[in-house]
């Protein structure tokens, strides 16, 4: 076969593929550029959306951990840099605050799509996002270590503390508990979880005034401090990645971890012998005798930018509908997340998130000023854990830092 014939064949092959994709997604023209977080489930959605690229339709994705930092500036410009943003229930709020995403009702009416009604995320009666997966932090534990220590599966943080004491005293492990307590977002998120578990409300009824400097806040910090006694002393620098590495090395017996990161924990790859087969995903823990689990529920979904042409919005909608179509599901994809998509069969990796959802956990608050409080917590809490000041003083600092920021943003 000569070279010309070969290249002609390849070209025909490529063309027929793009025609097939074009026919499958029904996009006639327009540009699509998707911004989103970077983890396997979102990469799957991005890749399925990008498969719609073809004649006159360009589809780009930028999936990055820095998506939260760039989403507001890049969607503020007109026309927006990205036609779609994949968000979670916290990161949709800044986009709503600045009116940067468009309602999807007209696109749904015109083009429909293969998704369930409960995937529509509506705010004030308008569909603003289409959800595709759920997530939550929950307990992961080592059944062999707990058996050796002679304790049952813990249901509350008090039981975790008791179990950790036995494991440490018996010399089974030096630092039996793990959680992402690194200064910043992660530490603040653990505070949020524990505060909700204690039955706390972050803001005074209906206002933007903070409501954490009280007995609930102090109790929250005290439980967290007690847990750090059983954590690697470097806990203020350890994020999810490092904690997972510690888990895989067999150095941790119980940890609080994201459901979306559970899949790799159950696989043998890069894990010390005896760890993965003894890893159990359990629901979220209770705390302080409360009935609400100390965790938050999260969804991930996609939104479409406001500052783009109707043509691009339609193209983006069709590409993303294809991105979350039930046909993306296969055995590997199913382990990547707790999908809300039709045809998803729960896998062992999803057990923790389902148990958490069934136990009545609250969603992360979708409030315009919640992220400011989150940031203030992340900046001020390390002082308490480094042993520099009392719980009351720290909470006072958090409220003061939050109020300064909230005044600047016009919330107070």
């Amino acid at each position: 076969m000569n070279r010309i014939l070969k290249s002609a064949l390849i070209a025909t092959g490529l063309m027929s593929q793009s025609i097939a994709a074009y026919a499958a997604c029904g996009i006639e023209s327009g540009n699509v550029n998707i911004l989103g977080n970077e983890f396997p489930a979102i990469q799957t959605v991005g890749a399925a959306a990008a498969a719609c690229a073809g004649d006159g339709v360009e589809i780009k994705t930028n999936l990055t951990k820095e998506h939260k930092d760039i989403q507001v500036p890049s969607l503020t410009s007109n026309p927006a840099e990205y036609t779609a943003a994949i968000v979670a229930n916290s990161s949709i709020v800044p986009l709503m605050n600045d009116d940067l995403i468009r309602p999807l009702d007209d696109l749904i009416a015109k083009h429909g799509g293969n998704f369930k009604d409960n995937q529509k995320i509506s705010i004030g009666g308008k569909v603003m996002a289409i959800g595709f997966m759920a997530n939550a932090q929950h307990l992961v534990y080592r059944k062999d270590i707990l058996e050796q220590a002679g304790v049952e599966e813990p249901k509350s943080y008090e039981e975790v503390l008791a179990a950790a004491k036995i494991i440490k005293d018996k010399g089974l492990m030096q630092y039996p508990f793990g959680a992402a307590y690194a200064a910043g977002w992660g530490l603040a998120q653990e505070f949020n979880n524990m505060f909700l578990g204690h039955g706390g409300e972050f803001f005074k009824d209906g206002t933007a005034m903070p409501n954490i400097n009280n007995e609930t806040g102090v109790a929250t910090l005290n439980v967290m401090k007690a847990l750090t006694e059983y954590m690697n002393p470097d806990f203020l620098t350890l994020n999810n990645n490092e904690i997972n590495a510690e888990w895989k090395a067999g150095n941790v017996a119980m940890m609080q971890m994201w459901g979306s990161r559970a899949g790799p924990l159950l696989s043998d790859e890069g894990t010390a012998p005896g760890v993965s087969e003894n890893t159990v995903l359990a629901g979220a823990l209770l705390v302080g005798g409360g009935s609400i689990p100390a965790t938050t529920l999260w969804w991930d979904g996609w939104t479409i930018s406001k500052n783009i042409s109707d043509e691009d919005a339609e193209a983006t909608y069709l590409a993303l509908i294809n991105g979350i179509d039930p046909k993306i599901m296969n055995d590997e994809v199913a382990t990547q997340a707790v999908w809300m998509i039709d045809g998803y069969e729960p896998t062992p990796a999803s057990a923790g998130v389902f148990a958490t959802m069934a136990s009545g956990a609250k969603p992360y608050p979708m409030i315009p000023y919640a992220s400011l409080l989150h940031t203030a917590l992340g900046n001020e809490l390390p002082d308490f854990f480094a042993g520099n000041e009392s719980a009351e003083k720290t909470l006072e600092d958090v409220e003061a830092a939050y109020e300064t920021a909230a005044k600047e943003k016009g919330f107070l």
Binding site: K68, D69, V72, N89, S90, V93, P94, M96, N97, D98, D99, N118, Q119, I121, S122, I123, G124, G125, G131, A134, A182, A183, G184, W185, G206, N232, P233, D234, F235, L236, T237, L238, N239, L297, W299, P363, P365, M366, I367, P368, Y369, S371, L372, H374, T375, N379, P382, D383, F385, A386, K393, A400, A401, T404, A405, K407, E408, K409, G410, F411
Partner: protein, 325 residues
């Protein structure tokens, strides 16, 4: 000059004088996978109208400069009047974000800069005396810390000082303290950052001084030898005076560089124990809600800080320059 220096400074100063509009809230029902509930959202139409009327936001003058995130005038006054000892006053001041950042930044700048000049000088003297055949290699290896990207360099060190890393573990054995952790205590974190800073910047001083050594007046050196000056006396009375203008130059560059210390704090995940002016600007600008005015205010204060810091060196350079013409 005008485009790249003057205009950005004007824009930062302007930004620091304004804050966002008051937000108008409405309550709506929001529904997701987990159920429906009432939530507060921002009435974007009403906010839009406010924004059209005053595109820059609300003018508040210098209030940003004196709020708790910056100079914190009322907090400082309260700390001064309520504190019973200087230690207590210091603790209260250290608790305020800007002062905490300034304290670390100054400690870092004024320990790293002299140390790197001294170490750089001795490396230069040492390299200058070794055999020419291997000098090229030695120079290359001495430059490596500067060639490695700061973030990568600090990440490498971050893992090495981990309690399970090579340096961290060795220290634990050396001091026979299994709970010793360089990352868990504030003084040890500061020491680590300072050691990293010196390690990273010493090659810069070395290269400059090494270049200077190549122009040493051989006549003066030889006459000093004939007069019976020891090696140390030759360094003290001939080499150091010859390199003095270069010391000023290195000090100037490194003061500026160290004053904006940032990468090691990110690389070492050290924000729990150390924050710098640059790192608090970064934390204002990142995350879901960006605090532009706060970041602008800190930037203006940083610029003022740089000017104060460099003024002695600048005055000195100006005098030297004036002498010659």
């Amino acid at each position: 000059m005008l485009l790249f220096i003057f205009l950005p400074i004007i824009s930062v100063v302007t930004q620091s004088l304004f804050i966002d509009h008051e937000q108008v809230f409405t309550e709506v029902e929001s529904c997701d996978f987990f159920g429906c509930k009432k939530t507060t959202i921002i009435d974007t139409a009403a906010t839009e109208q406010l924004r059209d009327e005053q595109p820059l936001g609300r003018f508040i003058g210098l209030q940003n400069y004196f709020n708790r995130s910056h100079l914190a005038s009322s907090e400082i006054a309260l700390a001064w009047s309520s504190a019973e000892s200087f230690g207590e006053f210091y603790d209260n001041v250290y608790n305020l974000p800007l002062y905490r950042a300034i304290i670390f930044t100054l400690v870092y700048t004024f320990t790293v800069t002299p140390l790197l000049i001294i170490i750089g000088f001795f490396i230069a003297i040492g390299v200058n005396t070794i055999n020419r055949a291997i000098r090229g290699f030695v120079i290359f290896f001495s430059l490596l810390p500067m060639i490695v990207t700061p973030l990568v360099g600090s990440l490498i060190l971050f893992w090495m000082i981990d309690s399970r890393g090579i340096i961290g573990n060795t220290l634990q054995r050396l001091f026979e303290d299994p709970d010793l952790s360089l990352k868990a205590s504030t003084p040890l974190t500061w020491a680590t950052l300072i050691v990293y800073g010196v390690w990273h910047a010493a090659p810069f001083a070395f290269v400059i001084f090494y270049a200077g050594l190549q122009t040493l007046p051989q006549d003066t050196l030889e006459s000093a030898m004939i007069d019976g000056a020891s090696r140390w006396e030759r360094i003290r009375y001939v080499v150091i005076p010859h390199l003095m203008p270069l010391v000023t130059f290195v000090a100037l560059i490194q003061l500026m560089d160290n004053f904006r210390v940032f990468e090691p704090i990110v690389g070492f995940n050290a924000s729990a124990h150390a924050t710098s002016l640059s790192s608090i600007i970064f934390s204002d600008l990142s995350g879901e809600s960006r605090l532009l005015s706060s970041a602008a205010t800190t930037s203006v204060l940083t610029i003022i800080g740089v000017v104060i810091l460099l003024s002695p060196v600048l005055v000195r350079t100006w005098r030297d320059w004036g002498k010659k013409y």
